[in-house]
Symmetry: C2
Amino acid sequence: MPIIVVEVMPKAEILDPQGKAVAGALARLGAASSNAAQFSAVRIGKRFELTVDGAVDDAVLAEVREIAEDMLANTVIEDVVSITVAE
Amino acid sequence: MPIIVVEVMPKAEILDPQGKAVAGALARLGAASSNAAQFSAVRIGKRFELTVDGAVDDAVLAEVREIAEDMLANTVIEDVVSITVAE
């Protein structure tokens, strides 16, 4: 059955403390191994996999777009960054 | 600056109560509008955006793969499903 992947990220202007914590941990670990890559920021969002009964057509995609904006993302603080069909 | 996107999903055999709740809500809302698409399952994972200082080469990608397996995903219950470079 086809899977529609919806990706949601916090808006750029919103502080992401969970991401900041990971970025801090990466910097601390990176300091130990001198040739490690530097990561200036980490942001953490959500990835939804919706399994669809039946075929994916434009109507289903439009409905998923609506669901994504209304239910999956809190559009006050989050953006829907992508909606793609897998499989 | 280049952004590396790491996507983590709960393993297929692990129960995802958050996803089950969303699937239940979608089914309830779908019952109201008769021509709505049916979603048989919803699973919710994480999407990390790592902003890299400098260029992305094979060494950086290898390091991100290691970080993803060791730190970003809890590999007992989660899988790293994709690592891609954006921008």
